[in-house]
């Protein structure tokens, strides 16, 4: 097999599908939902054309998708699925179940507004509302990152035995066409050895899963899950480094862009980081001491890395493309909690920007920067955009 690079013009969704094909999953339960559908369509097309093997299951709901994904995974095979928005929420019960079962499923979620009222717009509230279900979460900036992150996700999931959600936003990433470097099959086969867990549903082994446990067994199991999550911080960095050694592209679990000596840092996730990157370049050129902190790994939340990245920085502005009524922007809340008690912690301004998929232009971000520089931070998230 060739190790030559293939560069294709792909949507963010199809960039994920190509990575899935390379990862050679055995079982893929699927259910359509806008704007995820192109991921599953490309996979079924690969499958019908003989480029992929394994079992495609065309389920009747996302709930059943996740139910089948969990048991397939526990039978000892690699499993992939994809969803969005209402579909992710219908899965909610089974998301907890998957993590509890330590099933290393990889799932793409395309961020889309939640009803009601109805919408199809990029908004990260759907996946952020699943922050406590025990899934690892990566937020991707563009199709290339989604492609590479999907491969990393299998690697991380199977090492720590926790499921991984690879997240990118509706349309801005899912349907935007960009040049994507496809990792070669030979490289992926070296990076992702066949999944062969010692514990699995197998009559030859006779192990069971899911029945009633005592309070102490339950507590111990949750503690084990927490320890596995802690390991992700190191395993995730390693998976990123090792893919970088193979293909030359790495992202880190956080990215500090032009943060050296910065007096003002914009922290955000997903597609917004691309816009902020341009704003930072422009303002740096104008002599403003500013940088971007991109949170790529949101679960586990990399608290120690964030404290290290932000200690001594005077001001941080968080841009949240999500909204939790009653508490505001989720990244704003989490970042404040992560920095609590840190000597030399920055002032944090939390701005709700892009909720419901509203467009946040570079000039809008520059106005927000100016605003944050000139005022004291509010304890609550402030509506912008």
């Amino acid at each position: 097999m060739s190790t030559e690079h293939t560069r294709l013009l792909l949507s963010g969704n199809h960039a994920v599908s190509y990575a899935v094909k390379l990862a050679r999953p055995n079982v893929m339960p699927v259910y359509p939902i806008t704007p995820q559908t192109p991921i599953l369509e490309k996979i079924t097309e690969f499958h019908a054309g003989g480029e992929m093997t394994g079992e495609i299951m065309t389920m009747e709901s996302e709930h059943s998708v996740m139910a089948a994904a969990i048991t397939a995974s526990l039978t000892g095979v690699r499993v992939f699925t994809a969803t969005a928005s209402q579909g992710l929420l219908l899965m909610h019960e089974m998301l907890h179940y998957a993590a509890g079962a330590r099933a290393p499923i990889v799932m793409a979620n395309v961020n889309r507004t939640l009803g009601s009222p109805w919408g199809f717009w990029p908004d990260q509230t759907d996946s952020l509302a699943q922050r406590d279900v025990g899934w690892i979460q990566y937020y991707c900036e563009n199709g290339q990152e989604s492609h590479d992150t999907t491969l990393q996700a299998f690697r991380v999931a199977e090492q720590v035995l926790l499921p991984v959600m690879v997240v990118h936003e509706a349309f801005y990433v899912s349907h935007a066409m960009e040049a994507v470097d496809i990792v070669s099959q030979q490289q992926v086969d070296a990076y992702l050895p066949p999944f062969n867990p010692p514990h699995r549903l197998d009559p030859q082994i006779g192990e069971s899963w899911g029945n009633t446990v005592s309070q102490t067994m339950f507590q111990n199991h949750r503690r084990d899950m927490g320890e596995a999550m802690e390991r992700v911080l190191e395993v995730g960095k390693q998976a990123d480094r090792e893919l970088q050694e193979l293909v030359g592209r790495g992202y880190g679990i956080l990215e500090q862009y032009r943060c050296e000596g910065a007096e003002f840092i914009i922290a955000t996730m997903g597609s917004m980081t691309g816009t902020v990157r341009d704003v930072v370049d422009e303002l740096r050129a104008a002599g403003v001491s500013i940088g971007l902190l991109k949170i790529r790994l949101f679960r586990p939340f990399p608290v120690a890395d964030l404290r290290e990245a932000l200690v001594g920085v005077p001001k941080v502005m968080v841009l949240d493309r999500n909204f939790a009524p009653g508490t505001g922007g989720v990244l704003f809340q989490e970042l404040k909690a992560a920095l609590y008690g840190l000597a030399g912690a920055p002032e944090i301004h939390g701005y709700l920007a892009g909720v419901g998929g509203t467009n946040i232009s570079p000039s809008a971000i520059k106005e927000m920067v100016q605003c944050a520089m000139g005022e004291n931070p509010s304890v609550n998230s402030v509506w912008k955009g």
Partner: protein, 288 residues
């Protein structure tokens, strides 16, 4: 119709079922007929209580406990994963109650039938949510008392056998614990017919929920058949109907008066149930 039951010792004694429980009896004939090359899926229910708790198990096969609505999807996931590894021999069986089948699990079951997943799905039907203390399900029959229908249920039982037969699956059968040889034969038949979803609904009288003595399960089960309340039959591919045990002309009064869940019935109520049973049998018998 005589059938020699071939039992393997897969289901152990010492489980947590009530003494005289019909479900435990049903599980015995199902699991011991399926044998060691099997994986079971159970939802939260008395079946899960009987199979657990971790790290103990009453079954010498892997048992996966899923959520209440997901038995068919969970079983299908196991089967597809096994197929992807080249294993086409292990039987995957879902064993769920009527709440997990007629109600909350129906969507996943109907879809698995439509996809014709190569699994065996067995519903242990005790006509209500008995694990939570006897609440009404859509399998609860007309006029029966449950704690959520204290005045008696006003609507008839959902005809799950007819609904599953209408999916044109390879095999659909009704069975009950008063006829253990017939139940075991049907499980063996389901195992033999591979390549699609096989469904068996097993009427399992619940001692506490129905209000019957500890030793009355098999007797009440037989009365359900003999009075025409629950005829035993098989349907292959949605069209080939075979009657195994039909009504013997017993009035339904002989069946309902033995159960405390019916003790509030008036003579008119019993007449109403008799008419419903007669009508159901008229509709069914033309198919044989």
């Amino acid at each position: 119709m005589s059938y020699q039951i071939d039992e393997q010792k897969i289901f152990n004694s010492g489980h947590a079922a009530c003494p005289g429980c019909s479900e435990a009896l049903a599980i015995r004939f199902i699991i011991n007929t399926l044998g060691s090359d099997a994986i079971a899926v159970v939802p939260p229910s008395c079946i899960a209580i009987i199979s657990g708790p971790q790290p103990l198990s009453s079954m010498r096969i892997p048992v996966y406990q899923t959520t209440l609505e997901a038995s068919a999807a969970s079983a299908a996931g196991i089967k597809r994963a096994l197929l992807s590894k080249g294993n086409d021999h292990t039987n995957v069986v879902a064993i769920a109650g009527d709440g997990g089948t007629y109600d909350i699990g129906f969507q996943a079951l109907s879809a698995a039938a439509e996809r014709n997943e190569d699994i065996i799905y067995i519903c242990l039907d005790n006509e209500g949510y008995m694990n939570t203390g006897s609440q009404k399900s859509s399998a609860t029959p007309s006029r029966a008392y449950t704690t959520s229908t204290p005045a008696g249920k006003l609507t008839p039982k959902k005809n799950m056998a007819a609904i599953m037969a209408a999916h044109n699956i390879p095999y659909m059968a009704t069975a009950t614990t008063g006829y253990p040889d017939d139940l075991a034969r049907k499980v063996a038949r389901a195992m033999k017919i591979k390549g699609g979803l096989r469904f068996i609904v097993v009427l399992t009288p619940c001692l506490t929920g129905w209000g019957i003595p500890d030793n009355a399960g098999p007797k009440v089960s037989r009365l359900a058949v003999e009075s025409g309340v629950f005829p035993l039959y098989e349907v292959e591919n949605g069209q080939s109907y075979t009657l195994n045990y039909g009504p013997k002309g017993l009035p339904v009064a002989d069946y309902v008066t033995r159960q405390k869940r019916y003790r509030h019935l008036s003579a008119e109520d019993i007449e109403f149930i008799q008419k419903e049973v007669d009508q159901n049998w008229e509709r069914l018998q033309v198919k044989f």
